[in-house]
Symmetry: C2
Subunit: 410 residues, 2 copies
Amino acid sequence: MSLTDGPYGGPAQPDVIDPSGGANQTRVRAYNERLVMSLVRRHGSLSKADIARRSGLSAQTVSVIMRALEADGLLIRGAPVRGRVGQPSIPMRLNPDAVFSFGVKIGRRSADLVLMDFVGTIRLHLHQIHTYPLPDDLVTFIVEGIGKLEQQLTPDQRGRIAGVGVATPFELWNWAEEVGAPRQEMDKWRDFDLQAAIAARIPHPVFLQNDGTSACGAELAFGVGASYPDFVYFYIGSFIGGGVVINSALFSGRTGTAGAVGPLPVAGKDGRSTQLLKIASVFVLEKLLRERGIDPEPLWYSADDWIDFGEPLETWIQDSAAALAQAVVSAVSIIDFSAAVIDGGFPSWVRSRLLAATRKALKTLDLQGVTVPDLVEGAVGSHARAIGGASLPLFSRYLLDTNVLFKELS
Amino acid sequence: MSLTDGPYGGPAQPDVIDPSGGANQTRVRAYNERLVMSLVRRHGSLSKADIARRSGLSAQTVSVIMRALEADGLLIRGAPVRGRVGQPSIPMRLNPDAVFSFGVKIGRRSADLVLMDFVGTIRLHLHQIHTYPLPDDLVTFIVEGIGKLEQQLTPDQRGRIAGVGVATPFELWNWAEEVGAPRQEMDKWRDFDLQAAIAARIPHPVFLQNDGTSACGAELAFGVGASYPDFVYFYIGSFIGGGVVINSALFSGRTGTAGAVGPLPVAGKDGRSTQLLKIASVFVLEKLLRERGIDPEPLWYSADDWIDFGEPLETWIQDSAAALAQAVVSAVSIIDFSAAVIDGGFPSWVRSRLLAATRKALKTLDLQGVTVPDLVEGAVGSHARAIGGASLPLFSRYLLDTNVLFKELS
DNA sequence: GGATAATAATTCAATTTGATTTATTTATTG
DNA sequence: CAATAAATAAATCAAATTGAATTATTATCC
């Protein structure tokens, strides 16, 4: 193409892809309400004047919005703060009892159902162990579990349920071998619409998201999200998964698989290129233990109570750390994340050792031109997936989301 | 009309970790104006009714906005389209003469200055060859060049200049060796504020952005951006660089280095892990040619007129393709881009061969769990960096940018 | 120690902006 | 002439902003 050629017309694609729709006042209000709540959430408690300063909105606007939120029971006022010149400020904070939501985590060996309040505290919890996950069993567990838990709520509390969020690995049928399940059993997931199956049997809205992305959402809403406006997130479960936060918003991507991280190519111990998930996953540790003649069952009793397996655990930590360090470099070469957050289905002492090893491994890599991010431990912990599932209804209705401003286009 | 200025290019970044500010009506209007223009840009020409349907805004709102844009000379009406029932529709399109902007590309061997119109056509062009880039020389070239080019414009045209955008590699001082310049000469870039130096000597706003990100912006505004709402972009110049588009917006990241891509770890021919830029850069080809006793000078005469160097070129293409394929897999493991766009400072026949080789290389990789993106050739071509530079002022004032909706927080 | 000034938080009332709704006009085809 | 679609005018509505007032403090002067 010569210099003076006309417009650089790409393939003129008709109709298909258009940017988001227009914005209008109603949406502006909805957005500003979420902004106010997000600021309160982030800082614990803030006065109206604080919010006005932080949001750049006028004091009057903030006053009107916050009175409405208080009237709705979403915010509650604290004791006036005296000691400074001027009228005392009234700190407002989230009402923990304002909204409840159910979160479901579907795992290789177990499923969890939690009832979470508005500030991320798990109020009620059900746990089910299975040899491998099956659609019908899970629907039964979820629907009956929700029934059971709802019985423990007052009618008022039941009226404040925002919905159900399911955190699940995608394309379960691809993992029959690793899960240790017969292929034809796992194939049952292929044409099964879990979201629809649940929605048909309960009155609440149902949300479904990849388990890694969900856990990442939990970290955004209740963990390090307050400190970092963007980060890449790794959750090490039976399989590693992850998520991406950009501009303080969960970015799930066009296909919902943003932050998959599992397929990231990394160099293994032998120098050969492998997928990250084949190194930094708990099923690898399990295999390692079996090879050493050690019973891996303690891994599944409780994510928070592993025993120290000694050498094989240390080996797995070192290998995983080396792989994670490369994954972090890859990630920040695409997006200059300010932090990389690592969490997983293991006790905090394992997490600490893994983080330390990863920080060390990072230093051995070629960092020319790399903006090295903070490496931080997840603040949410092993239940991040279930909490993340439960936070999906909150994201949909209460958490900051720029898309709120735009019209939905068919 | 009020199109609020956005913060593009400038590295001025608030270190506040709060989400973006509140939204209000004025900003909504500014956003909707940009939305209308982006839709027109994307589709070439659209009637008011078309825009209303596509944006979801009411017909009346679109009517008001578009009349204002027409009155400002940004849109011009085409011939009424008859042949269908009802009043004929009047297609509106961008006025190519509505806005001009200067774009500067700083390269290892040369610098370019272009004057671009509103639809991405280069109207005027200056080119300078240097052995290596130096701050003072470049400022002189840019300032005097702008003076020269402005003399060729009418007073009216001069009044429509939106600004100057500079596309430059970051941290030039790190590349003294590869550039073949004395270290102390390149060190002059360390404390030199190019943006400020230019801004002090010309009356237009000056924007500065990484060259890869700039080229990516050109592709978004004038190339495949119309077909893909998100993509990762690779520009292969002396050094490879790139950029990231998310939600039809250029994402430059917190530090402005999003889409750096150069430091991506990939496995080289020997299986060892190397940075992408050490394989898929033109300086590697240059070295290869020298090793073969071939004069590499033809590489620098004109990016659009390479001669076919035969075997060494083919080797370089194969190696680069293998590395690029891995880079693409890494990228989509972080963000599920719908496309990976590859362009560079070479003729289109080289680009075609590179793309074909990359597609082939991609098939040899482990794609389990990977959402494979479309691999597409850049539509803008070798001048993408200069055009991208020139598009920076347009992004700041006229192109779609959700940040327009939010208040700037100190 | 009491009176007064300064300050900051909050809110009320009026204003402004801009999108939406409703109704009307215009230009075309069948 | 009926039907249809595009375009626009006028009225309406929602929500943010502006400016002024109110309130509850602390600071300071005498």
